[in-house]
């Protein structure tokens, strides 16, 4: 790649306006063959909008797109596809009840002479594409049953099968374990050698430096700068993204000694496949639950919460045995905050205040009569306590940023009287600034006497935030690490398969 070579693709002065918002303001981006171009910026900086313009989902109000130096029109997804642009979005665009092969070739299935789908050829081609990714999956399998990492690989296979020249990866590692991430990086390396240009949207600093050739930073819909990855420093990038010097790190302060044992899991096996898991969480403690994706971490949480039935062992909360029922767990003060924000029981159209009170109505109003004054006071109190950035308590939750929606979820559980929080990947898909804020929230929760069990794929996060950590492997507990042994290397050693 030389600086004066004609770029594979160039976006010039792209502007996109939505009612009331200038989403993109004169943004430019050049992509050369065989380059991994990191695209950074906080949530709302315009990264996704820019990519949607690139792939034809949105049409720009102003600006130009050039392919091989020639101006082109990208008005529909088909135009982008013809240019060889393929996008791997965070929300996978797969059809659950179609086979892997069908998904890879959706709309482009090889046909036989009768105009029917040539099943044999389609599956053979699908296997060939998957082989390029070192994947050995049964192409007849429905996508429905695949894990997140496998679904992503199917997405990438889909793009490869279209001979993509430009591949857009939107936070591809957000849901992957470290091992799967490594696998993805190998694939990216291979594609780079093949001359594919990649736009890689990421919130992870380490990825920028280990993967990227160049970095472009956006802020508030505006182009800020493009740097060679080798010339940039993390501090510099963060400054460019935020526009001011911020503390990148939440610093874990000294915490009071743990209190009573809130959660005790004794020899639990469950129908979801976990075997003989025992762990304890005390009040005032943040305990990590680490392990590779698919190692059974979420399953442990579901078993504790009573969402999946136990086959052996028992769960005690503050000394009381838990019946295998989410309702009972909730009543006793157990809160499960799942990975996907869409599933977190936020009524997105309703106001921040409504959402905060949703689970605590019985507690706040024992007489069953809703008192608007008291409700609002409680809402405002929690908004202040959790520093939720919202124009007001009556703002619909859907207009808040991801991080602030997450805080509303936490607030909702607090109002309901939750004392033990189980977080499942609390920072997935959340930008740097909001991440630190979430860590502070979690810290604040334990200072107030709550306990936290935090499931996380990011080892660094576990090390920074947790007091102790359990590591899962193959649906059983691989070990426990105390504060003084809690390092990324130790976590990884326990989580990895031997041999």
């Amino acid at each position: 790649m030389t600086a004066d070579a004609i770029p594979l693709l160039e976006l010039r002065g792209i502007t996109k306006r939505f009612p009331g918002v200038l989403a993109l303001d004169d943004v430019s981006l050049t992509l050369h063959a065989g380059e991994v171009h990191m695209l950074m910026g906080e949530n709302g900086a315009g990264k996704s909008t820019l990519m949607k313009v690139l792939c034809g989902a949105y049409t720009a109000d102003a600006g130009q797109i050039l392919a091989d130096g020639q101006p082109v029109r990208v008005r529909h997804a088909a135009d982008a596809r013809a240019l060889g642009v393929a996008v791997i979005f965070q929300e996978y665009s797969l059809v659950p009840h179609l086979s892997i092969a069908h998904n890879i070739f959706l709309g482009r299935e090889p046909l036989n002479r009768l105009g029917l789908i040539d099943q044999a050829r389609m599956h053979a081609q699908a296997r060939a594409v998957l082989a390029r990714l070192n994947l050995d999956l049964d192409t007849q399998r429905e996508v429905q049953g695949l894990g997140v990492a496998q679904q992503q690989m199917v997405e990438i296979a889909k793009a490869l099968s279209q001979n993509a020249r430009v591949l857009v990866l939107d936070e591809p590692t957000a849901a992957l374990s470290d091992r799967e991430t490594q696998r993805l990086f190998e694939v990216i390396g291979e594609l780079r050698r093949q001359g594919v240009a990649m736009v890689y949207i990421s919130h992870r600093m380490d990825e920028v430096f280990s993967l990227g050739d160049r970095v472009t930073v956006l802020r508030d819909g505006k182009y800020v700068a493009t740097l060679r990855a080798g010339d940039a420093t993390p501090d510099e990038l963060v400054t460019l993204m935020v526009g001011r010097k911020v503390d990148m790190s939440y610093h874990r302060g000294e915490r009071p000694a743990p209190g009573e044992c809130l959660l005790e899991v004794r020899g639990v096996s469950a129908v979801n496949g976990i075997r003989d898991v025992s762990l304890k969480v005390h009040a005032g403690e943040i305990v990590g639950l680490s392990g590779l994706v698919g190692s059974g971490r979420t399953e442990v949480a579901r078993a504790i919460f009573g969402a999946d039935k136990l086959t052996a062992g028992e769960v005690r909360f503050a000394g009381q045995p838990l019946r295998s029922s989410p309702t009972h767990a909730r009543q006793l003060g157990l809160g499960l905050i799942p990975e996907s924000r869409k599933q977190q029981g936020l009524a997105l159209m309703r106001t921040v205040c409504d959402n905060l009170l949703l689970a605590g109505l019985k507690r706040l109003f024992p007489s069953n009569l809703y008192q608007p004054g008291r409700g609002h006071a409680e809402g405002r109190r929690r908004i202040a306590q959790l520093r939720i950035a919202t124009p007001g308590p009556r703002t619909p939750v859907q207009s808040l940023s991801g991080g602030n929606q997450q805080k509303v979820v936490i607030g909702k559980w607090l109002v309901a009287g939750t004392r033990l929080f189980i977080f499942d990947e609390p920072t997935r898909g959340i930008d740097v600034g909001a991440k630190e804020e979430i860590f502070r929230q979690i810290d604040e929760l334990v200072r107030q006497g709550c306990a936290v069990l935090m499931i996380s794929s990011e080892l660094g996060e576990v090390v920074r935030v947790c007091d102790r950590a359990y590591v899962m492997k193959e649906r059983a507990l691989a070990g426990e690490l105390g504060r003084d042994q809690l390092t990324e290397a130790n976590l990884l050693k326990l989580a990895m398969h031997h041999g």
Partner: protein, 319 residues
Amino acid sequence: MVETMNSVASGARARLGAASGAAWLLVGLCAVFSVLAPGFLSGANLVNVLLQATILLLLALPMTLIILTEGLDLSMGAVLSLCTVVLAVVQIDSGSIVLGLAAALAVAIAFGLFNGLLVAAFDLPPFVVTLGTLGAAQGLALVAAEGRTTMGVAEGLRWFWEGGWLGLPVPLWLAALTWAVIHVLLYHTRFGARVFALGGNREALRFGGITVKWSLLWVYALGGVCVGLASLLLTARLNGGHPTAAIGLEFDAIAAVAVGGTAFERGKGGLTGTVLGVLAVGVMRNGLNLMSMPSSVQVAAVGVVVIIALWIDAARGRA
């Protein structure tokens, strides 16, 4: 994401599982009626069950595709009734069975296209659209028939219900042929893959650069074709046209699809289940008939069976 809940049962197994639920229901119903309903197991009656099921199958097959796209067609029964009238009137006036069938098919396809156009191009909810066309078709049928049965169709028309070919009754041939065509459409064409994607993940189609609209339009149009074919059987069976002949048949069709394990979301389901579901509903109606149960009881019973089937489905989903 969903790794926790769905990784255990692979999709293919789940689909078989849903269809096997309908199969068990069918076996159970047959067992119950062979004891309770006099003459249920006689050969003549079993052939009768199959014959009766053909019309329902002609509606339930396209209904499966429509429901896979997260749609619904409530107008099928009313349009079918209208078509029996159209077929009978045109046949009597022109003296030609072919013209009669052509007119009925044209009316049915027009309704299908109209439903599809409103759903696809204008993005209106299928429930409301087809509820509207239900009313329109019902009204037209009453006007066209002047409120009564249109009798006196050609003798030759009865062959389509009573006749046989290679030892099998004609309606069974027609039903089997329709099944085969729709099976190929759903599982061996791009159109079929789009049907699953329309319910499973429309974004997949949008980013794939495929126009969603036209596939949806054809799904409803296919419903029209099948309703037209069904009107041939029904007119032959009634020996005339009747403006309320098939009122409520869409209920049985939706019930059969639901019993067959096709879900109302996420593009889950398939044709095998629907065939079994049609047989289950058919057996149910036939058995209750033999037990001299009034049709009001039959409707309620079908409703109960649907709820039981959905409940079993939900229970399987949780496990």
